[in-house]
């Protein structure tokens, strides 16, 4: 569904991604893993059109989206929940969700989708009239995912969904991600919490200092000694 081919990206003179290629098949959960500063967020920014690559191609649903604007990419069915959560703190929870359905293809079913989001996150229903800025970290992540669902994406990209959340909330968020995937949404998840991510993903890529250093099924990666040593603390 998403194919990244030989991506080269730089900030000014400093190149930060070197020949990054990865593939996310339809209906799969794929994890992009690696330490802080490895280039995970840069990869995502480039995929959604917030940064332009020096070289390389990005294909989504058979279309070349390398040169597209962010809003065009969202319109074609890919949705990124960024590391900074991506909610509007001066808008109410309800307005945040409404804007999630801003893309034309999601607008007609806005009411039904919102009902489903409230079923998934009853907390958001309780807080619907509140400004998003007053929510707790976990609630804000729920709102960010709820907003993404409002857009009825074919593919959901989550950047560090566990960042800064209590373990219980993290479990809840990961269960939800798995549930969303079972509804037919393809998922690319970027995580520092490698163990958690590999539990729900079927395939993973390891990125270090801007290059893909390894890839494999989750089982392979979990049993790989080097990865165990470097990331899983085993």
């Amino acid at each position: 569904m998403l194919r990244i081919e030989h991506l080269q990206v730089s900030y000014g003179d400093i190149q930060v991604l070197w020949d990054v290629s990865l593939n996310v098949p339809e209906k799969a959960i794929v994890a992009l893993l690696g330490p802080n500063g490895a280039g995970k967020s840069t990869t995502l920014k480039t995929v959604v059109g917030m940064m332009r690559p020096l070289d390389g191609k990005i294909w989504f649903c058979g279309q070349d989206i390398t040169a597209q604007q962010p809003h065009q990419i969202v319109n074609s069915g890919m949705y990124l929940v960024p590391e900074w959560r991506g909610t509007f703190s001066t808008l109410s929870v309800l307005e945040n969700l409404e804007l999630g359905a801003f893309v034309p293809h999601a607008r007609p079913q806005k009411e039904q989708t919102m009902k489903r989001v409230f079923e998934l996150f009853p907390r958001l229903h309780e807080r619907r009239a509140q400004k998003a800025g007053t929510l707790s970290g976990g609630e804000r992540q729920m709102l960010a995912i709820g907003r993404a669902l409002m857009a009825q994406p074919k593919m959901l990209i989550l950047d560090e969904p566990s960042l800064g959340l209590a373990p219980l909330v993290v479990q809840n968020i990961f269960d939800t991600i798995q549930y969303i995937n079972q509804q037919g949404v393809t998922i690319l998840i970027v995580e520092q919490n490698i163990h958690k991510a590999l539990e729900i993903a079927s395939y993973g890529y390891i990125i270090e200092t801007g290059a893909i250093m390894g890839e494999g099924t989750s089982a392979d990666l979990m049993s790989n000694q080097r990865i165990q040593k470097a990331y899983l603390g085993i």
């Binding site: 917030m50 604007q69 809003h71 960024p82 991506g86 509007f88 001066t90």
Partner: protein
């Protein structure tokens, strides 16, 4: 004693009416600054062009100034779209900090160009729209209420209500507020940020055109009025803080009231100075402005 109460009442009433023009002039500037993070210092020149458009429609074609708004506003929208696509579209590619610096340079240049063009085309004479009802006034509790001035207050309130409705009840309005808060997240939501900037800039130009008509009707226009209106609007915007349309309008009236009270107490020559001192005091106590949200 009776006389002085009358004078005080009359000058406070006049201040409210003048202040609604300050508020109207500031609404467009506040909207553009708040959403695009671009400070258009040629805002007053757009107001001047709106005033001239209404003046010529009245003088050459005899079109009533209120009716002429159906032409003035579209003309300013077209000018606004042209300026945005030609100039400010390039500025909003930068980070917020660079947007302000670059927009100041472009705005000053633009202001000079528009002034010069206006002098060439219209001469430097003062022009005002003198309708048959321009001098009509109502008597209210012994105070004089000139109807064209009163209309500014009414129009101002209607515009604020309209803007509130647009920004809080329509999808495009909500998308504009979202863009103002965080354009990156807005883009990731599927909002065409550049389109929102264009709509907002055009709306800002339309508002300055409306204010320009009222200035030409209540006072007068000449090619050089732009700067003083930009400064007035800027003070009101900083005083009010960003993000609240009713707050901006009310701050306009407050500024005029402060100026009026100070000129009653200290004499007319100090009105601008006292206004600015009050402005500095309020800012040192509430840096986010009277009605602005506190930014983290």
């Amino acid at each position: 004693m009776d006389i002085s109460v009358g004078i005080v009442g009359q000058s406070l009433l006049s201040a409210v009416l003048v202040g609604s023009l300050y508020g109207l002039a500031a609404l467009g500037l506040s909207l553009v600054f708040g959403v695009l993070k671009v400070l258009n210092v040629a805002h007053g020149e757009l107001l001047m062009l709106g005033g001239y458009t209404a003046f010529w429609l009245f003088n050459l074609l005899g079109i009533d100034p209120y009716l002429s708004l159906v032409v003035v506003i579209p003309v300013l929208i077209v000018i606004g779209i042209g300026l945005h696509l030609g100039l400010f579209r390039h500025v909003v590619q930068f980070d917020e900090e660079h947007r302000i610096k670059n927009s100041l340079l472009i705005g000053f240049g633009l202001a000079l160009i528009l002034q010069t063009i206006a002098i060439r085309l219209f001469t430097a004479d003062d022009r005002s729209i003198a309708t048959s009802y321009s001098t009509n006034a109502w008597e209210l509790l012994g105070l004089r209420l000139p109807i064209v001035r009163f209309s500014g207050l009414v129009i101002g309130i209607l515009v604020v209500i309209g803007l509130q409705w647009f920004l809080h009840r329509t999808v495009i309005g909500k998308a504009i507020r979202a863009t103002a808060e965080d354009w990156r997240t807005a883009a990731l939501t599927g909002i065409n940020v550049q389109r929102m900037y264009l709509i907002t800039f055009a709306l800002g130009a339309a508002l300055s055109g409306l204010a320009g008509m009222l200035v030409a009707l209540q006072f007068s226009v000449n090619p050089n009025i732009g700067l003083s209106w930009t400064l007035k609007a800027l003070i009101v915007v900083v005083l009010a803080g960003l993000g609240s349309m009713p707050g901006t309008f009310i701050a306009g009236i407050l500024l005029a009231l402060v100026e009026a009270v100070s000129s009653l107490i200290f004499g007319g020559q100090y009105r601008e100075l006292v206004g600015l001192i009050i402005f500095l005091i309020i800012l040192s106590v509430r840096p986010q402005g009277l009605f602005g949200a506190k930014y983290a």
